[in-house]
Every structure is written in structure tokens, then in C-alpha cells.
């Protein structure tokens, strides 16, 4: 058993490797001491939560003056809850909070657009029941209404184009 670097009592379950110059240092921590340092051991906050919590505030998601209380129409997640947990609530959140999530993606990945495999949803096929398509249309319409209400016209223009593309799709 490796004991915790901080309390010297409990078993270490978190192992942090730091690279400084040519040396590699590993710090072993138990779950409680890791939490005390702001590092999640059980995955509930995850690496992103720790990242957002410990790096300077500007490294996290941008402040969205009107968006903080805006809730996802599907799962009720808010930008504040996503920031606190480091996790997105549901697929619709990616539409409802498209702009701040794009800004975050740019910081995390250095990119904002997927260029890999294109997925064809079997449910989006003309023969398939239109339930999911309708759900996506509804989510986009609600997100568009919210963007207009908050005078986020740049975002509204993007949402309008996507709505039109989905409506026109066969």
C-alpha cells in the first residue's frame, strides 16, 4: 500500500505526475486529501471540473451575462451547473449552450468543428419514426427563441440556419 503524501495514513488512490524540467515527480494522495487540493478522486467532478476549478477563472467557460439562468429545455441543466460539474447534461445542451461550449471546445481542443466520421442516424432516415427529428426541431426552436429574447443575435443566426437545414432535410 502506498500511503498518502499529505496525511501519511490513508491509502493513496490518486497519483499525480508532474514533469519539471528533466525530472518526473509523482505525488500520491488519498481521496480526502486529493479533494482538499481540489482534485476529484471519484470521478464526480472529473478532470474538467478540476481544470475549471483550479486554473485561473478566465481559463474556464466565458461569462454569459444572460445565459447563467437559462436552462436546457431537455434536462434543465444550466451553464452554471455545467461549469460546476464539468459535465454537459444531455445532447440538447450542446445545442442550447452552443456558443459557450464552442468557446470551451476551442480552449480544450484548439478547434470547434468535428471533421471526423459523419454519422447517419438510423432514426433520421425518411422511413424511421420522426420522433427524434421532432425533438431536435423543438430544441432548436426553443434555443432560437431564447437567443432572440436575450439579444444574442449572432447565436440566433447560427441556430436559424441549422433549424432551416433540418426543416428542409428530406
Amino acid at each position: 500500500m502506498t500511503s498518502c503524501h499529505d496525511c501519511h495514513q490513508r491509502e493513496a488512490v490518486v497519483h499525480l505526475t508532474e514533469v519539471v524540467g528533466a525530472s518526473v515527480n509523482t505525488v500520491h494522495l488519498c481521496g480526502q486529501c486529493a479533494s482538499a487540493r481540489g482534485i476529484a478522486a471519484d470521478g464526480t467532478a472529473g478532470p474538467l471540473g478540476a481544470f475549471l476549478a483550479t486554473i485561473s477563472p478566465t481559463a474556464g467557460m466565458p461569462e454569459a451575462p444572460h445565459g447563467e439562468t437559462l436552462a436546457c429545455p431537455e434536462c434543465d441543466a444550466t451553464l452554471a451547473s455545467i461549469r460546476a460539474s464539468g459535465r454537459v447534461g444531455c445532447p440538447t445542451c450542446w445545442v442550447a449552450f452552443g456558443r459557450p461550449l464552442r468557446d470551451l471546445a476551442r480552449r480544450l481542443h484548439g478547434a470547434t468543428r468535428h471533421v471526423g466520421d459523419r454519422y447517419e442516424d438510423p432514426a433520421a432516415h425518411p422511413d424511421a419514426p420522426g420522433r427524434r427529428r421532432q425533438r431536435a426541431l423543438d430544441a432548436l426552436r426553443r434555443a432560437l427563441a431564447a437567443a432572440i429574447e436575450h439579444e444574442e443575435f449572432e447565436e440566433a443566426a447560427v441556430l436559424r440556419d441549422r433549424l432551416k437545414a433540418l426543416e428542409d432535410a428530406p
Binding site: A22, L108, H109, G116
Partner: protein, 350 residues
């Protein structure tokens, strides 16, 4: 004593003296379902049922074995983790009495699917040695077959949607488990790992996120998942790993014949062959030294698959399951030493 180890540890793949295994995993979520953290037991059961239904119609998966992580004993969950089939979180090793509801695992040979982990699905494919092409193709085949039967959450801009923004886009994490003892011995490892970080890659220890590099084994993987195609991400990792392999081989030329290195690998060989009790971390470190000794031709040519198998078969839950008298924790160091002797002796008899 049953001596079974996962097939991807058989050292049959490319560069198997340095690279233990290659893994590609794809994070996927089902459309119309909330992500982990916002969904409840009923929704998670529905997700699992949808995946299980789809799997029955897929020949490459239908013969696989399902494990309900939330109904397995802690020892069995740990056993699956030791085979690197499930994450520490999915095995609930830190909350032994509270595995996540509806958490499940499908194992079909070198392919596995974690259901209701951080994402609804984590598709994984493992191969022996350094073989990103093979692991990537296997994971992609599972992805294709499943994606035709259940709807994945996909957005034209963001790609495959995930619970954590660090995985969005391709949802692909390719990783290579590589042994770099000579770079550690020459002190160049820090520079190499720093360079890896600057090239958009990351490194972890043997047991994944948050673990240390026991036995000088490192998992090298892509850090970003968005803005590059699946093949670009794997090609980039592949090129960097290839460079790292060249560096390690060069460093081995430098440490060859160095008395302190030869002394260390010789001592490791002696302890593994004659110790009556071995702790698990100690065993992993000694196996790492012996692996280096074999590579430097200082030690007898122990097959790499024997050293790979011991990495897993000498772990706690594997020892406890392998039977014999009693399974108390204090008996494990004795059993560990015994299986090490047994497998190293098999080498002599072969």
C-alpha cells in the same frame, strides 16, 4: 492453478518487446437520453436494454459475455479492472459498496463495451503490441454495427456528443502501453514526456487516469478529440510513439554495459526467482527491470508474453480467483511469488 490472461497480452504484435498493448476507445451516447450525472436508474436501465437488444443482432458481439457491474462482487469487479476492461470508476473500486446502477460491461474477445460509464457507451478494442490500425479498425467496426441499430447523439458541428467536453467530436482515445526504462535511466524521460505534451498527447500510468508509471510502463494517448479525423488522430499518435520507440532503443545502447543497470536487472531477476513473498507494486517494478534485462541480453530470453501475463495474473483479484487454499489478503504475497516462479520456470521447461 488456472493461468489465463487476456489475448492482447500474448506479445504477438509489432514492437512487442517495448509495447505491451494498444487500445482504441470510442465514447458514444444515445440520442434522446440524458448523460451520466443527470439520468436516473430507470433511464440507465433503458439505455442498457437498448444496447443489449442491439448487440443480439450483431454477429461480432452476440457471442460476448455481459457483466452487470452493479450486481458483481467487489472481487470480480476488481478482476475485470485488472484485465484493463473497465475503468476504476466503472468497477467502483473507490466506492466498493456503491457501484453505479445499471453499469455493465460486454466482453467479446479483444472488444469490450462499457455501458453507463461516464458516457452511455465506451467501445474499446485491444491488440497486442503497437498496432493502432488493427485496434482502430476493430473499434470502428463495433461502432458501425451498433450505430446502425441504435441512434447515437451526433451533431453536425460538434460530432459525437459526450458528457465531458474533453471527449466531444470523434470521442476517440487511442493509447499505447509502452515500456521506457532506458529513457528513465538516462534521465531523458522528462524531456520526452514534456515533448509529448507539447504535441497534443498525454501520458498516464499502467492503470489509466491518475495512476503512476509503475514498472516504467507509460500509456501514451491523444489528448484532443475534436478538429481532427479519427485517422489523423491515430496517425499523429503513431508517429510520435514511433519516435519514442527510436529514442528508447537509442537510450538502450547508452545504458548497455553500465554496471549499475546490469546490477539492477540482475538483482530483479534474482528476487523474482527466489522471493517467497512479493508485493504487487514490487512485482511490477521487478518485471520492468527484467524486461529491460532481456532487451539488453543481460538476462535469459524470457518470452515477453510471460512478463505481460504476470503483470495481470499477479494482481490481487487474479490471485484470489486462481483458487488454492484461502484467499485472505495476507496470503496474496505468497501466492504472487508462487505464480511468478511457476511462469518463469515454465520458460526453462519450454
Amino acid at each position: 492453478m488456472s493461468i489465463e490472461a487476456p489475448e492482447w497480452l500474448d506479445a504477438s504484435g509489432p514492437e512487442a518487446d517495448l509495447v505491451v498493448s494498444t487500445r482504441v476507445r470510442l465514447a458514444r451516447n444515445l440520442a434522446g437520453h440524458r448523460f451520466w450525472g443527470r439520468n436516473g436508474t430507470d433511464e440507465r436501465e433503458a439505455i442498457l436494454a437498448a444496447v443489449q437488444g442491439a448487440v443480439t443482432a450483431i454477429p461480432q458481439l452476440s457471442g460476448g459475455r455481459w457483466h452487470r457491474m452493479d450486481r458483481l462482487a467487489p472481487g470480480s469487479r476488481r478482476w475485470l479492472h485488472e484485465r484493463q476492461l473497465v475503468s476504476r470508476e466503472h468497477a467502483a473500486l473507490d466506492q466498493v459498496d456503491h457501484p453505479r446502477s445499471a453499469a455493465a460491461l460486454l466482453v467479446a474477445g479483444p472488444k469490450a463495451i462499457m455501458v453507463n460509464e461516464e458516457d452511455h457507451l465506451r467501445i474499446q478494442a485491444m491488440t497486442s503490441g503497437f498496432d493502432l490500425g488493427r485496434a482502430g479498425a476493430a473499434a470502428a467496426a463495433v461502432n458501425r454495427d451498433l450505430g446502425e441499430r441504435i441512434s447515437f447523439a451526433f451533431d453536425p458541428d460538434f460530432g459525437y456528443l459526450t458528457g465531458c467536453p474533453t471527449n466531444v467530436g470523434t470521442g476517440l482515445r487511442a493509447s499505447v502501453l509502452i515500456h521506457l526504462p532506458a529513457l528513465v535511466a538516462t534521465g531523458e524521460i522528462g524531456k520526452v514526456l514534456q515533448g509529448i505534451g507539447q504535441m497534443g498527447l498525454t501520458h498516464r500510468g499502467l492503470w489509466g487516469e491518475g495512476s503512476q508509471a509503475e514498472g516504467h510502463l507509460f500509456q501514451l494517448s491523444n489528448q484532443t478529440t475534436l478538429g481532427r479525423s479519427e485517422s489523423d488522430l491515430m496517425d499523429h499518435l503513431g508517429r510520435v510513439v514511433h519516435e519514442v520507440i527510436l529514442h528508447e532503443r537509442r537510450a538502450r545502447m547508452v545504458v548497455r554495459g553500465v554496471p549499475t543497470i546490469e546490477d539492477r536487472v540482475g538483482r530483479a531477476w534474482g528476487v523474482l526467482r527466489h522471493a517467497r513473498m512479493l508485493q504487487v507494486g514490487e512485482m511490477v517494478d521487478l518485471l520492468g527491470s527484467v524486461r529491460l534485462g532481456v532487451g539488453l541480453d543481460v538476462l535469459p530470453a524470457v518470452p515477453m508474453h510471460t512478463l505481460n501475463r504476470l503483470l495481470v495474473l499477479g494482481q490481487d483479484a487474479h490471485l484470489a480467483r486462481s483458487g488454492g487454499q484461502g484467499s485472505e489478503a495476507d496470503d496474496l504475497p505468497v501466492r504472487r511469488a508462487r505464480i511468478v516462479h511457476q511462469l518463469l520456470d515454465e520458460r526453462d521447461l519450454a
